[in-house]
């Protein structure tokens, strides 16, 4: 579904509610914000996946009696 780029404004003095299309400046800011959000989400997801992989590797090495790397050991320290 394509986003409808509109803004809602409620005037608290008059009670009037208006809906208007976003301005070009607002659309540009929104696109910039969306790109920043996507980048942050990608970074957060990558970090979570890396941590999960380290934990899996650490567990496997513990079971096998193999030495852990410092990063793997760090995932086990509470």
């Amino acid at each position: 579904m394509t986003d409808t780029l509109k803004a809602i404004e409620v005037n608290c003095e008059t009670g009037e509610v208006t809906e208007r299309p976003l301005t070009a400046e607002e659309i540009a800011q929104r696109e910039s914000d969306a790109a920043a959000f996507a980048a942050a989400e990608a970074e957060r997801t990558a970090a979570a996946e890396a941590l999960a992989a380290l934990k899996t590797s650490a567990k496997a090495k513990l079971v096998a009696g193999q030495p852990l790397t410092e990063e793997e050991a760090a995932t086990l320290v509470i």
Partner: protein, 173 residues
């Protein structure tokens, strides 16, 4: 609800959604403000921050400290120097269908001449796996009276249809 609460204004998002919701021309005749929201965004991720901006004033004046629990783990976040306040949280498209994040943002002494401290609490759910409870302390380092509030999503997606925001004024007598 105490009889000193008065509904100032409300907004329900209609078909097609809305990029933002603005409460403007807020009179300075109350002691505190309370904004009660039920919001869902178009973000693909779980949960989405609601961004609050006062008086269309950006800069670096917004900061917050956040505590979150999801039923199995606790986490925290600390942010400062932002152009908007990170107010938790609206549900995203990955949350349980047709559920909304619910929150209350309390703004004491909003018309005073000191910086504005704000308490924010919110919950949202994903019935299949988890539910989030969030509590934050926010600060807008600005001494101006708050006369307008703009709500947007951190993901820069729309608030979906049936999202609501209710602004109450509270008097201490």
């Amino acid at each position: 609800m105490a009889n000193t609460y008065k509904l100032i204004a409300s907004s329900t998002v209609g078909s097609g959604g809305a990029a933002n919701i603005t409460f403007s021309s807020i009179a300075g005749t109350y002691t505190d403000l309370l904004l009660k929201v039920s919001l869902r965004s178009g973000a693909s991720a779980f949960n989405d921050y609601v961004l609050l901006q006062f008086n269309s004033s950006g800069g670096t004046a917004y900061s917050d400290r956040q505590l979150t629990g999801n039923g199995t783990a606790a986490s925290s976040a600390s942010r400062s120097g932002n152009a908007q306040m990170y107010a938790i949280a609206s549900s995203g498209a990955s949350n349980t269908a047709s559920t909304f994040g619910n929150g209350e943002y309390y703004i004491p002494n909003y018309a005073g001449s000191a910086n504005k401290s704000i308490s924010l609490d919110a919950v949202n759910e994903n019935n299949g796996t988890e539910a989030y409870a969030n509590l934050s302390a926010g600060l807008w380092s600005n001494t101006a009276a708050i006369t307008s509030i703009v709500l947007t999503n951190n993901s820069a997606t729309n608030f979906v249809q049936y999202s609501t925001a209710y602004l109450y004024g509270i008097k201490n007598s």
